[in-house]
């Protein structure tokens, strides 16, 4: 571990107090970046001010998943701070200091926020504590070992007391500990407890600042008109009517469409609506999503590329007493974060400052500098609270940052807010990929599953992106993750992937591949167990391999919570599902009734093992949110591309959101396996859809094979 102590007094004078940065040896490709000149950079993780506040700089985007609270609580624990003195602030874009060890860039995704920060933040907190103690020891003339720290107060052997603020300045002269001692988890006071989220008060009284809330002097608001089809471009623009709208200042053609600038938002929107644009559709994707689904289904019925296999799959099916087969179709999905994509830029001469809810700061920062043709050192990127993301703000293509830069470049120096409308968002692509699964199962005469085959057809998310290096020998694991590494011991199995192509840009969407693999595998397994005359919980337990103890534990726990004794026979039926994603294990049982032909989920029991739960209340809230997010999507959501290439849906009147009356009661239990913390932002999403569908099958006799349910005639 390398501790970085800022040496520039000028900076310290401006912020006052102790500033600590910790850079850990990099496990991966960021190794080179972590060494060297940034050791002298003034950026830091902890700032302790003379007013006794402790501010933790959060390297990950706070998009609702509790990053600010989580990382600050870990620092506070090792610092022995009082929770009330803790603050959180988004760290600036600085890849060297704020890299995500899972990726080697600054950014967050794959539910890695806590997992990759836990030890780093603990060490930062412990180092700061040691430096404060040393400063107090010097001041009081006592041995550092005689000083205790509790709830933000240092106490000396003769009854001396002081706050962190009292020693913030003096701590600058303390030795930076090479390897500060960390607490034994049994000594934790804040970790593992329910804490008030640091962002709750501001998000409750309206004072939290999102990107949309930034107003700079002379700032113009910019609305954009995008092509009506993916791959189409501007042929000609008649902007006469737009320029007549009061408040519209200019119209500019940019690579992604046409931008309308206004002195206020209404003017920009009105101006955009008044544009007359001819589009060149010669390069556009014109297939409908239904057409694509047929092509994908054809591929899923074929051989495809094997990604995982065991046993003799041909023999398993040749010798089977019974076989079963099913095809599942999953639609394109928009993320629809409630704050539409937005960004603010102040463009100067050879320099720029940008504010946005950036989830991949390194990528966005480089893109901004590249498009603006300004040295990256002269482009400041400030990360704002994001009004939701669900993957949408983590675009390897960095298309929004590029559009923001293009909007500014086209108009010249000044301040601009680029604000997408909901229609831009819903029709803007970067969807969860349309996916088809083809499953086959083989049962022997005793009803035991002897063969399992799953072929998945969809577009690759990472091919052609800066993340392409994550591909393994031409395979994109994000396309089929969750269909492999299943906890079940099959005598023979084969999972294959067929890579599809289309002009529709696709992107990871909260839980990525698991959004479809959990559904097909856990509903199909449920059917096979039923065919084999087995109970859906006990049948799974019998299949779970010896190594999959964490899967077993959450399944047993949820069955116990729900009082499982089979799906039931009354008006309300239960369905179960088990799915690991991003290192966290989640089992759910959903209780469902038939309301006028539609499934209504009355109650969900959820057991989660995310390793050591740093902030249990955040874990519970992410399970609750994941359940609601997954439920609403399963019931209502799809992006339909019409014949010719236009997107049918455009706003929440057609892309329906789950509402309060759809929400089930939820009971969450955290199964603490004492493993290292793993993520919770995504793992709550995958199991709810199959759990609900399995209950629905108990009621109706059929698993919906095409999502969403309302599209399946349910």
């Amino acid at each position: 571990m390398t501790l970085i102590k800022p040496t520039r007094r000028a900076f310290l004078a401006s912020t006052a107090g102790l500033v600590i940065a910790v850079a850990l040896p990099q496990a991966r490709r960021a190794a080179a970046q972590a060494q060297g000149e940034q050791n002298f950079a003034p950026d830091a993780f902890i700032r302790i001010a003379p007013d006794n506040t402790v501010t933790v700089l959060i390297k990950h985007l706070e998009m609702g998943q509790g990053a600010n609270t989580g990382l600050a609580s870990v620092v506070a624990e090792e610092l022995d701070a009082d929770w009330a003195q803790m603050r959180a602030e988004s760290a600036p874009a600085n890849t060297a200091l704020y890299t995500n060890f899972a990726f080697g860039i600054q950014g967050v995704g794959g539910s890695t926020g806590m997992a990759n920060s836990y030890m780093q933040m603990r060490k930062a907190g412990a180092a700061a504590r040691a430096m404060l103690v040393e400063a107090a020891a010097r001041d009081w003339g006592v041995d550092a070992s005689a000083i205790t720290v509790e709830a933000g107060t240092l106490t000396g052997p003769d009854g001396q007391t002081g706050t962190f603020g009292d020693f913030a300045e003096a701590a600058l002269d303390s030795e930076v500990p090479a390897d500060p001692a960390l607490k034994d988890p049994s000594e934790f006071k804040l970790i593992g407890q329910k804490l008030t989220r640091l962002d709750s008060p501001g998000k409750t009284d309206g004072t939290s600042e999102f990107t949309i809330d930034i107003y700079l002097d002379g700032m113009e608001t910019v609305a954009v008109l995008h092509p009506p089809k993916f791959g189409a471009t501007v042929a000609s623009v008649n902007d006469a009517a737009a320029l007549e709208v009061p408040g519209v200042t200019r119209v500019a053609q940019i690579p992604t469409g046409v931008a309308v600038y206004g002195t206020n938002t209404y003017a920009a929107f009105q101006g955009r609506d008044a544009l007359e644009v001819e589009w060149d559709e010669s390069g556009a994707e014109t297939r409908s999503s239904a057409e694509m689904a047929q092509v994908w289904a054809e591929a899923a019925r074929g051989e495809a590329r094997e990604v995982e296999a065991s046993g003799d799959i041909k023999a398993a099916f040749a010798d089977a007493a019974t076989t079963h087969e099913a095809e599942f179709v999953f639609p394109f999905l928009a993320h629809a974060p409630l704050e539409p994509l937005d960004g603010v830029i102040q463009l100067g001469d050879g320099e720029a400052e940008v504010w946005m809810g950036s989830q991949l700061q390194t990528v966005d920062h480089g893109t901004l500098a590249g498009v603006l043709q300004i040295d990256q050192a002269n482009v400041a990127l400030n990360t704002m609270y994001a009004g939701g993301s669900f993957g949408r703000r983590a675009t390897p293509a960095s298309h929004f940052a590029a559009e923001l830069a293009n909007v500014a470049s086209a108009a010249g120096p000044g301040a601009y807010k680029l604000l997408w409308t909901r229609e831009n968002d819903i029709r803007g692509g970067y969807y969860r990929p349309l996916t088809v699964h083809h499953l086959r199962g083989a049962l022997d005469a005793d009803g035991k599953i002897t063969g399992w085959q799953n072929t998945i057809a969809n577009q690759s998310i990472i091919a052609g992106s800066p993340f392409e290096q994550m591909m393994q020998d031409g395979l994109d694991p994000t396309s089929y993750e969750g269909s492999t590494n299943m906890p079940y011991d099959w005598p023979a199995h084969r999972v294959s992937w067929a890579r599809m192509e289309s002009g529709v840009p696709v992107l990871w969407w909260r839980a990525v591949g698991h959004t479809h693999t959990a559904y097909s595998t856990e509903t199909f397994l449920d059917e096979l167990l039923e065919m084999g005359g087995q109970d859906q919980v006990q049948g799974r337990l019998d299949l779970i391999s010896a190594e999959a103890g964490r899967d077993r534990a959450v399944l047993e726990r949820v069955a116990d919570m729900a009082g499982w004794s089979g799906p039931g026979t009354g008006d309300r039926r239960m369905g179960v599902a088990l799915h690991e994603s991003f290192g966290s294990y989640v089992a759910m049982i959903a209780e469902v009734e038939d309301r006028d032909g539609h499934p209504f989920t009355t109650k969900v029991w959820c057991a989660v093992d995310c390793g050591f739960a740093v902030n249990p209340d955040v874990v519970i809230s992410q399970m609750e949110g994941g359940i609601g997010f997954g439920l609403g999507t399963t019931l209502y959501n799809e992006i339909t591309i019409e014949q010719g290439g236009r997107v049918r849906q455009s706003n929440f009147d057609q892309y329906r959101m789950i509402r309060i009356y759809d929400m089930p009661q939820i009971e969450v239990a955290i199964v603490n396996s004492q493993n290292d913390p793993s993520g919770v932002g995504e793992p709550g999403v995958p199991p709810i859809a199959p759990a609900m569908a399995n209950a629905w099958r108990s009621l109706t006799g059929a698993t919906p094979r095409r999502l969403p349910l309302q599209d399946a005639g349910v």
Binding site: M63, G64, G66, K194, T196, R197, D199, S200, P201, K203, T204, D205, G206, T207, S208, E209, F210, I212, D213, Y215, T221, P246, N264, T265, Y266, A267, F269, A336, P337, L338, E339, P340, Y385, A386, G387, G388, F390, T421, R422, D617, V618, S621, E624, G625, G626, I627, G628, F629, L631, G632, N651, F652, D653, M657, I660, Y661, D662, M663, Q665, I666
Partner: protein
């Protein structure tokens, strides 16, 4: 065109197109940024403000239709119901991304002002116009019940 608008107890003159949605006057002209933009078609409720005490979707309310009314935004919701709602929101850690929560708090406050002890059905009905993309609905329900309980005492 100059219009007279009473927002949060203060009457001000604003020079805007009379068709401008109230939302953009509140945000762009008055710089009260707690009220959010989510859909522009009254489907999500992020823009909810009170007009004469009634929860109103400001994104589809032309500003010239609310002159002479009392408009209250999240920045100025007050009284025992608002305090109870906001205290319960913080205590139960309702917000996740937080973008919709101004609208949720305004709607919940209006509900408790009208019905101090709402049934579950009345809570669902009153909050049905407010979308939370993070699906914090379970906690929204709990927080409204808790706020209602504290009001009773």
């Amino acid at each position: 065109m100059s219009l007279s608008l009473t927002v949060n107890g203060t009457t001000r003159e604003v020079d805007v197109d009379p068709a401008t949605p109230l939302l953009w006057v509140i945000r762009d002209e008055l710089r009260l940024t707690g009220t959010k933009f989510g859909c522009g078609i009254a489907q999500c409720g992020a823009c909810t403000v009170m007009v004469n005490g009634q929860p109103t979707r400001s994104c589809v309310t032309p500003v010239d239709t609310v002159t002479g009314t009392n408009i209250t935004t999240i920045e100025a919701v007050e009284g025992p119901e608002a305090e109870a709602v906001q205290a319960a929101w913080v205590e139960l850690n309702v917000p996740q991304c937080g973008y919709c929560q101004s609208g949720q708090v305004v709607s919940a406050t209006a509900l408790l002002q009208a019905i101090p002890k709402p049934t579950d059905q009345e809570i669902d009905d009153a909050m049905a116009g407010n979308v939370c993309r993070c699906a914090t609905y379970a906690r929204i329900r709990s927080a409204i019940r808790q706020a209602s309980d504290t009001l009773e005492g």
